[in-house]
C-alpha cells in the first residue's frame, strides 16, 4: 500500500495482513451483519402484534386470563391495543402452528427440515421443488439469453431490425407477466405442452429483454477509433463482429445475465402459479396460501431468494474470472 504506512511501521508484515483482514471485516462483513440484525429485530417485533389474536386464543385455551375475554370483542380490537392490554400473555407469539407472521427461527427450522432432513426425492423436500423450478429457470434463461443475443446481433447489423425490434421488445415488457402467464400456459397446454416447457418460455420471456438491451449497447460500445482500425485492415463485417464487437460486449453481457437469471426465476415461479401445479417453489407458495401454511410460504420465499442469490453470485464469479482472463481486469 502507501509508502507512508511502510515507513510508519517498518517490518510489520504480519500486522499488516491482520490490519487488512480487519479492514475487510469492517467494510464488508460488519455492514451486512448490521443490516441482517436490524431485519431480524424488526421481524421479531412485528411478530407480536401480527400474531396477537391467535396468540391470545391459544393462551386462553391453555387457561390464561385474557383481556377482553370475549373472542368477538377481541376480533374488533386493534392489534396494538390487544398487545398493550395483554403484556403478560404474549409468550406464544413465536411458536404458533399457523402464525400470521412466522418468526425467523420457525422459517429457518422449516427450511432445515425440508432440505437437510428430508430425502431430496420426497415431495415434502424443498430441494425437490427447488430443482423443479430451477430446471425451468435454467432452460428459460438459456432460451432467453440466446434469443436476446440473436436479436441484439440482428439489431446491430440490420437497419430494418434496428427500427422495428426494440419497440416491440419494450412493449412486450410492459404487459404484466401475471396477465399473460396463464394465457401462455393455456395455449401451450392445448397443443399438448405442459410442465417444464411452458414455464421455461415464461422465464425466457422475462429474461431476453435485459440481454437484448445490454447486448445492443455492448455491441455498439467500440469507439470510432477502434472501428477505424478495423477499417484500415479492410476487415469484413464478420471479422469486425468476431474480433471487435463481440469481445467488447462481454462485460455488458455479464451485467445483463445477472439481471436475466433473477428475472428467469421469477418467470418460472409465476409460471407455476396459474396451473395449480403441484411441484416447484411456486406450487409450494400457492399450496401454502391455500392451507394457511405461512411457515411453508415463507420458507419457499426464502428458498427462492437463496436460489436467486446463489445463481447471481455464480454468474458474478464467472464474470470476474472471465474478465480477468480477457485482460479487462485490474
Amino acid at each position: 500500500m502507501t509508502s507512508v504506512t511502510e515507513i510508519a511501521a517498518p517490518g510489520a508484515g504480519a500486522g499488516r495482513t491482520g490490519l487488512r483482514a480487519w479492514r475487510w471485516v469492517r467494510l464488508r462483513v460488519l455492514p451486512i451483519l448490521a443490516v441482517v440484525l436490524g431485519i431480524v429485530v424488526v421481524w421479531y417485533t412485528a411478530c407480536v402484534p401480527m400474531n396477537v389474536k391467535e396468540t391470545l386464543t391459544f393462551a386462553e385455551r391453555a387457561g390464561a386470563e385474557v383481556e377482553p375475554a370475549s373472542p368477538a370483542e377481541r376480533r374488533d380490537m386493534g392489534r396494538v391495543a390487544l398487545v398493550l392490554a395483554n403484556p403478560g400473555q404474549l409468550g406464544g407469539s413465536f411458536a404458533l402452528d399457523r402464525p400470521r407472521l412466522p418468526a425467523p427461527h420457525q422459517v429457518v427450522a422449516e427450511l432445515w427440515e425440508t432440505t437437510v432432513e428430508t430425502r431430496p426425492t420426497s415431495k415434502r423436500s424443498l430441494v425437490y421443488h427447488g430443482w423443479v423450478t430451477l430446471s425451468a429457470t435454467l432452460l428459460g434463461f438459456g432460451i432467453g439469453t440466446a434469443l436476446g443475443v440473436l436479436l441484439a446481433v440482428g439489431i446491430v447489423h440490420d437497419r430494418a431490425m434496428d427500427m422495428s425490434v426494440l419497440p416491440w421488445a419494450i412493449a412486450s415488457q410492459t404487459i404484466p407477466i401475471l396477465a399473460i402467464a396463464p394465457m401462455i400456459i393455456v395455449v401451450l397446454n392445448s397443443i399438448g405442452l405442459q410442465g417444464l416447457i411452458p414455464k421455461a418460455l415464461i422465464s425466457a420471456y422475462l429474461s431476453f429483454f435485459p440481454v437484448v438491451v445490454s447486448m445492443v449497447a455492448g455491441l455498439r460500445s467500440p469507439a470510432a477509433s477502434q472501428m477505424d482500425l478495423m477499417h484500415t485492415y479492410s476487415a469484413t463485417g464478420g471479422q469486425v463482429f468476431r474480433k471487435l464487437r463481440l469481445p467488447a460486449s462481454v462485460p455488458y453481457l455479464f451485467a445483463a445475465l445477472k439481471v436475466g437469471i433473477a428475472a428467469s426465476l421469477i418467470g418460472a415461479i409465476v409460471g407455476e402459479l396459474p396451473t395449480g401445479a403441484s411441484e416447484g417453489l411456486g406450487a409450494r407458495l400457492l399450496a401454502g396460501s391455500y392451507y394457511g401454511q405461512t411457515v411453508q410460504i415463507w420458507s419457499a420465499l426464502f428458498a427462492a431468494a437463496i436460489l436467486a442469490a446463489a445463481m447471481v453470485g455464480l454468474i458474478g464469479l464467472i464474470e470476474r474470472l472471465t474478465l480477468r482472463r480477457m485482460g479487462f481486469g485490474r
Binding site: A235, P247, M326
Partner: protein, 264 residues
C-alpha cells in the same frame, strides 16, 4: 513550386477540399491541398492544432472522403489502395484492444489478412523486437506504460508489409528521451525498409530530424502554406540537431508556422 516527383508519386493530392457538415455549420478542414509524395520519402506534416493534419492523413487512408479534388495512392483511389493493403496506420492514440495481449494486438491485422499461423507468430516476434517490446508479448495493454503501448501500436502497423506508413503524432505523448530513441529507431527502420512515411507531429525538431520534406500547414481553413526540402543527409545521428544546417531548417519551419498563424 514545380514538383518533379509527380511521375513516381505514391501519394498524390490535387485540389483537395474537405468540408465537415457539423451542427453549427460547415467546417472547412482542408482547402485546395496539392501534394505529391514520392516513393521512399519521409514527409512530416506540422501545424497548429486543428489545421487538418489528421484529416489529411485520414483522406489518404480512405477514412474520410474529400468534398472536392482528387487523392490517389499508388495510382489507385484511397479505397482501392486500402483493399490492396497499401498502408499501415498508426493512430494518434495507441488504441490497443484491451482484451488482447500485446502479442494479440499485433497479431490482429495478420489474423484479418489471413496470414498463416506460423508466419503470424514469427512476424509478431520480429516486430515486437523491432520496437523493443520482446518480453511483453503476453502482457495486457493496461500493464504497459503509455509509451510502451504506443510502441506496440507501431509494431501493429509494421506487422504486415505495407509500403506506406501513415503515422499521426505517434510520439506525441512520450517524454523527450524515449522520443529521441524512437525517432532514431524509426529512421533506422525507414532506411532499412525503404517505406514511404507520412508523419504528423507538433514538434519542430522531430519534424526536421526525421524528414526529407516538411509540410507546414495552417488552420481555418486547413491548407498547406510551405513545403521545406531538407538538405540533411540520410545518415542522421542525434547530434545532427546541433549542426548549423539543422538549426537553419528548424528556423525556416518556425518562420513558416508563424507566417501561417498570422501572429504578426
Amino acid at each position: 513550386m514545380k514538383d518533379t516527383r509527380a511521375a513516381e508519386a505514391v501519394i498524390e493530392a490535387k485540389g483537395l477540399d474537405l468540408v465537415f457538415q457539423t451542427g453549427d455549420g460547415p467546417v472547412q478542414a482542408l482547402k485546395d491541398v496539392n501534394l505529391a509524395i514520392g516513393q521512399g520519402e519521409f514527409v512530416s506534416f506540422i501545424g497548429p492544432s486543428g489545421c487538418g493534419k489528421t484529416t489529411l492523413l485520414r483522406v489518404i487512408a480512405a477514412l474520410e472522403t474529400p468534398s472536392a479534388g482528387r487523392m490517389t495512392v499508388n495510382g489507385m483511389t484511397p479505397d482501392e489502395a486500402r483493399r490492396a493493403r497499401a498502408y499501415g496506420y498508426v493512430f494518434q492514440a495507441a488504441g490497443l484492444y484491451p482484451w488482447r495481449t500485446i502479442g494479440g494486438n499485433v497479431r490482429l491485422p495478420l489474423e484479418i489478412m489471413g496470414y498463416p499461423k506460423s508466419e503470424q507468430a514469427e512476424r509478431v516476434k520480429r516486430v515486437l523486437e523491432l520496437v523493443d517490446l520482446a518480453g511483453f508479448e503476453k502482457k495486457f495493454p493496461w500493464q504497459l506504460s503509455g509509451g510502451m503501448q504506443q510502441r506496440a501500436s507501431i509494431a501493429r502497423a509494421l506487422a504486415f508489409d505495407a509500403d506506406i506508413l501513415l503515422m499521426d503524432e505517434p510520439f506525441g505523448a512520450l517524454d523527450e528521451i524515449v522520443r529521441d530513441r524512437l525517432n532514431e529507431e524509426l529512421l533506422a527502420l525507414w532506411e532499412r525498409t525503404g517505406k514511404t512515411i507520412a508523419f504528423v507531429t507538433h514538434s519542430i525538431p522531430e519534424a526536421v530530424y526525421l524528414s526529407t520534406r516538411i509540410v507546414v500547414m495552417s488552420p481555418r481553413p486547413g491548407r498547406i502554406t510551405d513545403v521545406i526540402e531538407s538538405p540533411l543527409p540520410k545518415e542522421r545521428p542525434l547530434e545532427i540537431r546541433d549542426t548549423p544546417e539543422f538549426i537553419e531548417i528548424a528556423h525556416r519551419v518556425r518562420e513558416g508556422l508563424r507566417a501561417g498563424h498570422g501572429y504578426d
